[in-house]
Amino acid sequence: MTSAKEEILGRIRAALGESRSVPTVVPRDYRTHGSDEPGSPAVLDLLEDRLVDYKASVHRTASADLAGTVRQVLAALLPEGGRVLVPAGLPPDWVPDASTDEGFDAPTLDGFAAVVTGCAAAAAQTGTIALDGAPDQGRRAITLVPDIHVCVVRAGQVVQTVPELLARLDPTRALTFVSGPSATSDIELQRVEGVHGPRTLAVVLVTD
């Protein structure tokens, strides 16, 4: 008996017939780079503008004050008694009293109010932050279940356009692109922020 795979591939070949060998040239004259350099003030301003437009908060800081800023942001957002989770690779001095992820199950993750991570890269034009599971970001579930996500983005990680963003990422890793907090437009096309993912996204932008 022919396998489903063989049969489908055979159907494709029969369907294409002669047209199979016709080459198609892909025009790539769209923008593959921004007008501004990664990390430049213009790109950082654009990122902030887009993030705020999608109801994320942005907190600028110099790298010398980073740990203090992270703690300040958390203090303002955390509900009373709320616990904080961090991935194993996050610098320990950022949130000294946080719990480090040990592969907790989902209900345990649900017991944390907030998570603090770094990121892999960000695109200003769309207000998008990419996470790739590196040690300072952790596995995907930890940035999903807690209701508050504080994400540290460094100036050098911010590019202007989507093509530049993808060029910085490894497609064989598990990636998450985050553009603002979770949202829905399913009721009368009206955007409502905060459904199943974190309802609060706070970005700490390190400007130097």
Partner: protein
């Protein structure tokens, strides 16, 4: 290659899935048109989304270049679809995933059912997927006692309302806030009886309702917006985070995907991640996009499957004009601009694929005899082409399918099909009836003008504005109205 492949194209089978309506389009459309609440909801929703889309599209000065690149990438992918699929399978398998192939809806449902049964679970969580709706997966699972929970807010509204989707992006677009509130109050166990119809409150009710399901789910089922052949990367775009929940928390993940959803390389995705969110929700970027390539150690599901489904796609590929429809990235922009869709809504199209894309996709997947009235569900105004991020020439394909249908009937010396006859009985109400027939006459004049070259470059009004920017294919000599009138149909 064995000789069996050279036979007739194989369409999506009858009796399974959701590609065929219970009633032909004109009959269903008449019912829909009588529903003023529905028309009001649709008019409001499509106007909102059109404005949002226009605003974010105008932000990009390279939008046309992106559209042309998107069109070319998809076209190039189709001409080597077999190679790309094999490459995808190799890459996904090399990274610990398992690939399954399914000739049609029945086989796909069998594969998924078997995979779920192997886990011993009786419940699955689902993230919105056109492919699983198309094949009727929920019904197939239910038949063996497995409950499938839709987790997308709109899908949840549809599922709780014992309803069917009417839009590919916003499946509950036909419902307004107070109707949604009523459904939640009636169907959601433990919902706050003080629930208001404020969208935020309704969204929070959905969050609370699904939270426990997500945290305990062992099996997730998804579709995929794209698959990168070279790297074996699957891509899902979403807004609410329910997708991330389904893709990340369960131990087993089963992804069901049509064989046409490929792009060759990671770089190609840079085009579609710009085209799709702006065209669909009218956002610069959707809140969440997830990608995975096989299994990821210590991160997400341990058992990762991909089911590649044909179900009429190879039959569509066999038609040189019709195959461009496979380039569709399911953004729904064409339905949001369509004057016919805006009046009738999605249910009238019978299939899970409504609107202009449905009118050209459903009849090709099922074979035209099973959806014969759909290619007529259009005024050929061309708005869908202008909105389409991958430049699918829907008007040309519509005309092509009408001609193909007429040709088929003639060859078979058959009387008009049941679908076609019932169109005669329905009042044809896409626009005012005089405007509609005038437009059809005009398109017939177009045929006379262009009789020699097979393409025409100038049409009389109301098409002249449209044809100024592109060549229009020849419409069939007989317009629909004339065609059925000639067969004894009564004018409405």
């Amino acid at each position: 290659m064995s000789g069996i492949f050279l036979g007739m194209p194989v369409h999506a089978p009858r009796g399974v899935g959701a590609l065929r309506g219970a009633e032909p389009f004109p009959v269903a459309a008449r019912t829909a048109l009588a529903n003023t609440q529905l028309r009001r909801n649709l008019g409001h929703a499509t106007a909102t989304i059109r404005a949002k889309r226009a605003a974010v599209v105008s932000e990009l000065d390279d939008w046309e270049e992106l559209r042309r690149a998107g069109e070319a990438i998809k076209t190039a992918t189709m001409t080597r679809l077999d190679e790309h699929l094999e490459q995808l399978e190799r890459a996904f398998t090399a990274r610990g995933g398992t690939v399954h192939w399914a000739r049609d809806a029945n086989e796909a449902n069998e594969v998924v059912t078997r995979l779920v049964q192997a886990t011993g679970e009786r419940e699955v969580v689902k993230v919105k997927s056109m492919a699983t709706q198309e094949i009727g997966l929920n019904e197939a699972l239910e038949a063996v006692g497995i409950a499938a929970y839709e987790t997308d807010l709109a899908e949840l509204i549809v599922q709780l309302g014992h309803d069917t989707p009417s839009h590919i992006l916003v499946p509950a677009i036909h419902r307004n806030r107070s109707e949604i509130r009523e459904i939640f109050l009636r169907e959601m166990a433990g919902v706050d009886p003080m629930l208001t119809d404020e969208p935020r409150m309704l969204a929070m009710a959905a969050r609370a309702h699904l939270r426990r399901k997500f945290l305990s789910a062992k099996v997730g089922i998804s579709g995929a917006n794209f698959a990168v052949a070279q790297t074996g990367t699957l891509v899902v775009l979403e807004s609410e985070g329910n997708g991330r929940m389904c893709l990340t928390l369960p131990q087993t993940l089963i992804t069901v995907m049509g064989i046409e959803k490929l792009v060759p390389t990671w770089t190609d995705l840079e085009v579609f991640l710009q085209l799709l969110p702006r065209s669909s929700t009218g956002e610069r970027m959707n809140p969440y996009t997830s990608t995975w390539a096989g299994r990821h150690e210590g991160d997400g599901p341990r058992d990762v499957h991909l089911v590649l489904v044909d179900n009429g796609r190879t039959a569509t590929l066999a038609d040189e004009i019709g195959r461009q429809v496979l380039n569709c990235i399911k953004c729904s922009a064409c339905m949001n601009v369509c004057p016919v869709y805006e009046r009738t809504g999605g249910h009238a199209y019978g299939s899970v694929y409504p609107g202009p894309i449905g009118a050209v996709l459903s009849p090709q997947l099922t074979g035209i005899e099973d959806n014969a009235s759909l290619p007529y569900a259009s005024t050929l105004c061309g708005a869908c082409f202008d909105a389409c991020p991958v430049r699918i020439d829907i008007p040309s394909v519509l005309v092509h399918l009408r001609a193909k249908h007429v040709e088929q009937q003639r060859e078979d010396h058959r009387l008009p099909s049941a679908e076609a006859l019932s169109m005669a009985a329905a009042s044809w109400v896409m626009s005012t009836s005089t405007r509609f027939s005038a437009a059809e006459k005009a398109s017939r004049i177009g045929r006379l003008l262009g009789a020699r070259r097979g393409r025409i470059t100038m049409l009389p009004p109301p098409f002249s504005g449209w044809s100024a920017s592109r060549d229009v294919p020849l419409p069939p000599r007989e317009s629909f109205r004339e065609w059925w009138a000639g067969r004894g149909g009564a004018t409405s």
